[in-house]
């Protein structure tokens, strides 16, 4: 299994001790950090001042933190990259995050929820509720361009456009070719249509001989 690139690119699947390593993770991913991360981190609770600017900053902060949480099974990607983060709102200092499952049985969902709770609490939000939305259904098309680039960098082939409408019967190996994320060759073959997680299949490149994972189109 080609785990190395994933492990290096990600924040790491193990939850760090409270307060340790979290700032790195946040600032590494969040782009427009126009306020210092320390403003709220470590605060006893979110400010409850009535000023709109405060509320807006608070919301921005919550969104940045939630968007920067990484997926436990594809740690190279943030929830925003993966397209599973649907909504973040703050009401009276309480953060409501809405996420959507990728595959219905995905066991990573509770892990993601736990990470959201932990990271938002570390950022100073005392109250957090994670909601799960089923509609509209997630599709692999929701993975952002940035997410696709990160997947390729981690040695994982990003998904092709998902099929819509009637579902034609296909056979493994007869599906459209997936380009090798290492050498770019289209001469690849399916090793296992079901991979290490629900969302991945295992391929092998005939040109460079390397196995690689593919995020399934769905």
């Amino acid at each position: 299994m080609t785990a190395d690139p994933v492990a290096r690119a990600g924040v790491g699947p193990e939850a760090p001790p409270a307060g340790a390593g979290v700032d790195t993770a946040t600032s590494a991913v969040v782009g427009p950090a126009d306020e210092p991360a320390a403003v709220l981190a470590g605060a006893a609770g979110p400010p409850t001042g009535p000023a709109e600017a405060d509320a807006s900053a608070l919301l921005d902060r919550a969104r940045q933190v939630a968007a920067s949480v990484t997926d436990p099974e594809l740690p190279a990607l943030t929830l925003a990259d993966l397209g599973v983060l649907r909504d973040v709102t703050v009401q009276d200092g309480h953060v409501h995050v809405t996420i959507t499952p990728t595959w219905l049985g995905c066991p990573a969902l509770p892990e993601i929820s736990g990470d959201l709770h932990r990271r938002l609490r570390e950022a100073g939000f005392a109250g957090v509720t994670v909601h799960v939305a089923l509609t509209p259904a997630w599709t692999s098309d929701a993975i952002t361009a940035e997410g696709r680039r990160k997947l390729a960098d981690a040695g994982i082939a990003p998904p092709r456009p998902a099929r819509r409408g009637p579902v034609p019967l296909g056979w493994p190996g007869r599906r459209d070719r997936v380009a090798c994320p290492r050498c770019g060759s289209a001469d690849t073959t399916v090793l296992a249509p079901f991979g290490a997680t629900l969302c991945r299949a295992l391929y092998r490149c005939r040109a460079c001989g390397e196995p690689f994972e593919y995020v399934k189109d769905i």
């Binding site: 509720t129 939305a133 009637p166 579902v167 056979w171 769905i218």
Partner: protein, 306 residues
């Protein structure tokens, strides 16, 4: 307080109470924690406006969610029993993935039924008796070999895919959401099964023989999939009636069987009891053994947590 601990919290929506102490984000505390599944969410339908659901009879809707949920739950369990016994690691992963997909579908369907019946997925899965299960009998059999496994999976996934595809237009938004998500998953299951049926059917003389025998073993239970069910039809007018699925399902099966050089078995449908079958709570002997295994921990430690 460990990061893990919240997973023993209540299901589907996880809350943290701003008034409480550090570990408050463990939702409701151990009193309401569940030993089953270990997920951290309470309500997957939080964004779906169920109040806007049309006037479908709630009891009938619940009954149909139970049927579809029980199909997935029992079959998932049967597939799980294959784990560590499959011929290759790749097949282990495939069957485990498929079983997990079906378990995910089952959980949501039982949760939806639970909404309507004033109960929850755990009570429905672990504290119902045999005659209260509404699954088709096809999913109850233990596979004798790998050929039977992939043959039955082909029929089940083809049938369920067509059913769910139609239920995406269900008048119940909860059921429609599950159907839309589930149908795309089933396309992968069908593809996997079809690939193996062709490989074995059009393989060696022995593999062909065993694939053909595998089909014959479960085929008496195929007819039951297409029994009239007016209420399923009501949920998605004129489209999801099982009777109407038959031509589309047969078209796919015929295409696979022809490619695999296999014959559709000509066997008599398994009889019911006074015309009643799985959907009516009349099951084969196999279901009792499945439930005994599946429910034993829950029943030995009711309301236990871990």
């Amino acid at each position: 307080m460990t990061d893990r601990e919240w997973t023993t919290g209540d299901a589907w929506t996880t809350d943290s109470d701003p008034r409480a102490t550090d570990d408050a984000w463990v939702s409701d505390g151990p009193a309401s924690a569940r030993w089953a599944y270990g997920t951290g969410f309470r309500d997957p339908f939080v964004d779906i406006d169920l109040a806007a659901a049309p006037a479908t009879d709630p009891e009938q809707l619940a009954a149909r969610c139970l049927m579809l949920g029980d199909d997935a739950l029992v079959y998932s369990h049967r597939l799980q029993q294959w784990i560590t016994r499959l011929p290759e690691l790749e097949e282990e992963m495939a069957v485990a993935n498929i079983a997990l997909d079906l378990l995910g579908q089952a959980r949501l369907l039982l949760t939806r039924a639970g909404h309507l019946l004033g109960t929850d997925e755990d009570r429905l899965a672990f504290f119902r008796a045999e005659h209260e299960f509404r699954n088709v009998r096809l999913v109850e059999r233990a596979d004798a070999d790998f050929a039977e496994l992939v043959g039955r999976l082909l029929v089940f996934s083809t049938w369920r895919l067509e059913l769910l595809r139609r239920l995406t237009e269900s008048t119940d938004p909860g059921l429609a959401a599950i159907a839309e998500r589930g149908a795309t998953e089933l396309a992968y299951h069908r593809e996997y099964a079809a690939g193996w049926v062709v490989r074995l059917g059009d393989g060696t003389e022995l593999s062909h023989q065993r694939m053909q025998a595998g089909l014959a073993a479960f085929w008496p239970y195929v007819d039951e999939l297409f029994r009239p069910d007016p209420v399923l039809a009501d949920l998605s007018p004129d489209r999801a009636d099982p009777v109407a699925l038959r031509s589309d399902v047969d078209a796919v099966l015929d295409s696979v069987l022809a490619t695999a050089t296999l014959q559709r078995p000509s066997v008599a449908p398994a009889a019911g009891v006074g015309g009643r079958t799985g959907r009516d709570g009349v099951h084969t002997e196999d279901l009792g053994y499945i439930l005994a295994e599946m429910q034993s921990v829950a029943r030995a430690h009711p309301e236990g947590v871990w």
